[in-house]
């Protein structure tokens, strides 16, 4: 194993952070895992609750087969072992938003076994994070604790929503690695379409297990930070928690295994105040549900229409389009971005397209707070614009202006770049005569600079700039450059 460069320093030396994540990903299903109630976000309280979800007496679960398919699909996407025989267990505990008094989950025999995810590290290296398992389980309802001075309120709309719990091995060694892991996992889920990955709405949330140790030591006692729901918070929570543990140990204390909560307002974690009795969930096979069995054909059928996943796409972008690993990595982060790029790159210089997508398009969307689906500039228009630069119709500098005009126009205006260039007179001047005149003009007006340029040839750039300015950026820069060098006698 490579040396860990992410040590944190304490008074007694360096410490290593060890991180494992349990990600809860909501299956993108219309109905719940064991009932026919809807899963849509933001409904009126208790309006998406069936008698099963409310655990009325005598109610029984019936599994949503679509959710089983999505778990298998995700397992395949994680290159994991698919278990054709798995078992639903009951995890017993009391909580007001857990109507049955147990969560139907999978304990000893999950539907998906070991797999792996590769993450890109900052230094360009790739690291494999092991997946221990993926299992299907029910979500709980929602308790609201801040609506009333001495009551909590319970909304069961989420009760019974299908979750995939994806458990990693404790393979991560820094907040950045954990963040990269979640981003990558999220991308895979979204490529597969098995989870929408919406962290704000709670469709994806992570329990982060944090421990610290001296490099080479045994694993330390871990604390589990529950339900962290943004990638930024994951980073903050880990940084805070690791530091807390190091300080605690160095002050002569010991880390207690406990469940903690992250408070985004303070950036701190704190122990849950509910009685931390020794958990004894009394798992046992749910007698209302027969074992979950399916054939290998069922798995093969799902495998057949698995989409290209981020790693494969990235490799293809590097090989087929000649992109840098960095650019390829950025573009495949979201399937929609990759598709936009590929559509724009059709028949164009792919590297130039990648630059424009990563530069102008992403920057513009970011600033306007828009999704790529709502981009005011279409992929086709990006492709056209790159084409117009390539055939010298417009200079790179003018192209920026064209892009901004298209962006401001919005999608409804839909003016193609060629039209805008025409209307705004941004066509690049390639007529040597006109350029020559402009060059002469600048040279004549600046005899002192001409003298300097003969001493220091780099000064030529200044002349090029002046000419470009004088032509309003429309002159072909290569042509200007060539003439300037010629006229200054530098060539």
């Amino acid at each position: 194993m490579a040396e860990n460069k992410n040590l944190i320093s304490g008074a007694t030396g360096d410490w290593e952070i060890v991180l494992g994540l349990e990600v809860h990903a909501q299956v993108a299903s219309k109905a719940k895992l064991f009932s026919g109630a809807a899963t849509e976000f933001g409904a009126e309280p208790n309006s998406q609750v069936s008698l099963v979800d409310a655990a009325m007496p005598g109610m029984l679960p019936v599994i949503n087969w679509f959710c089983v398919e999505q778990a298998v699909r995700t397992g395949l996407g994680l290159k994991a072992q698919i278990n054709n025989y798995s078992v639903f267990d009951r995890k017993n505990y009391f909580y007001p938003d857990l109507p049955q008094g147990y969560q139907i989950s999978q304990f000893q025999q999950p539907i998906v076994g070991e797999g792996a995810i590769e993450i890109d590290l900052a230094d360009g290296a790739v690291k494999e994070i092991g997946i221990e398992r993926l299992h299907l389980e029910q979500d709980a309802g929602k308790s609201l604790h801040d609506q009333h001075p001495n009551m909590s309120f319970v909304d069961l709309n989420r009760s019974g929503v299908a979750l995939m719990e994806i458990v990693s091995n404790p393979d991560m060694r820094s907040a950045a690695e954990a963040q990269a892991y979640v981003k990558k996992l999220r991308a895979i889920l979204r490529y597969l379409g098995t989870c929408d990955g919406n962290m704000e709405q709670g469709s994806l949330r992570a329990d982060v297990n944090v421990s610290v140790r001296k490099p080479g030591d045994e694993l330390g006692t871990r604390c589990e930070i529950k339900n962290v729901n943004s990638i930024r918070f994951i980073g903050q929570a880990i940084e805070y928690e690791a530091r807390r543990q190091v300080d605690l140990i160095e002050d002569g204390g010991t880390v207690e295994q406990q469940t903690r909560l992250f408070d985004p307002k303070t950036g701190e974690t704190r122990a849950m105040r509910s009685k931390e009795e020794a958990h004894d969930y009394r798992y046992f096979p749910d007698p209302d549900l027969l074992p979950l069995e399916f054939s290998q054909e069922f798995v093969d059928e799902i495998a057949k229409d698995l989409p290209e996943l981020p790693d494969e796409k990235k490799a293809r972008f590097i090989n087929d389009y000649g992109l840098t690993p960095y650019d390829a990595g950025v573009l495949v982060g979201e399937a929609e971005n990759a598709a936009f790029f590929e559509s724009a790159a059709e028949g164009q210089d792919a590297k130039a397209v990648a630059n424009m997508v990563i530069g102008s398009v992403f920057a513009g969307l970011n600033k306007a707070d828009l999704d790529i689906a709502d981009s005011p500039v279409s992929a086709a228009q990006v492709g056209q614009l790159v084409g117009l630069i390539a055939d010298d119709t417009v200079s790179g500098r003018s192209a920026k202006e064209v892009f901004e005009l298209m962006f401001e126009d919005g999608p409804d205006q839909g003016k193609n770049p060629a039209v805008i260039i025409e209307e705004k007179g941004l066509k690049q001047v390639t007529d040597t005569g006109a350029i020559e005149a402009a060059v002469d003009e600048v040279i004549d007006a600046n005899p002192d600079k001409v003298a300097q340029a003969k001493e220091r040839p780099k000064m030529a750039g200044w002349f090029v700039g002046q000419v470009m300015q004088a032509t309003g950026g429309k002159a072909n820069p290569q042509a200007v450059n060539k003439l300037v060098m010629l006229k200054l006698g530098l060539e």
Binding site: G36, N46, M151, V154, D280
Partner: protein
């Protein structure tokens, strides 16, 4: 194995059944008697026997992913001991 009072307290807590200290001795005795009775199973050699969880030999059946249920918050809340608008209400939970 006999069940002592501490064990009764532990189980009662797990099961969320309030028991007073006064009830503990009798409960310990009763539960011990039952545990003593069921412990005769230990005399049987069951090595390699697969546990039988259900008498049904069918395969599990599933549903399609269609919304067919819900939309009756009133029914869901109709029997609630305490509610507030559309919510069930419980003594405050401190996390």
């Amino acid at each position: 194995m006999s069940v002592d009072e501490n064990m009764v307290r532990r189980i009662a807590n797990l099961a969320r059944i309030g028991v007073t200290d006064g009830e503990l001795p009798a409960l310990a005795k009763e539960l011990s008697a039952i545990i003593g009775f069921v412990e005769q199973l230990s005399e049987l050699d069951t090595d390699g026997v697969k546990p039988l969880t259900s008498a049904v030999e069918d395969r599990i059946r599933g549903r399609e992913d269609i919304v067919t249920d819900g939309g009756y918050a009133e029914d869901v809340l109709a029997n609630a001991p305490e509610k507030d608008d559309e919510y069930f209400a419980v003594p405050k939970v401190v996390e």
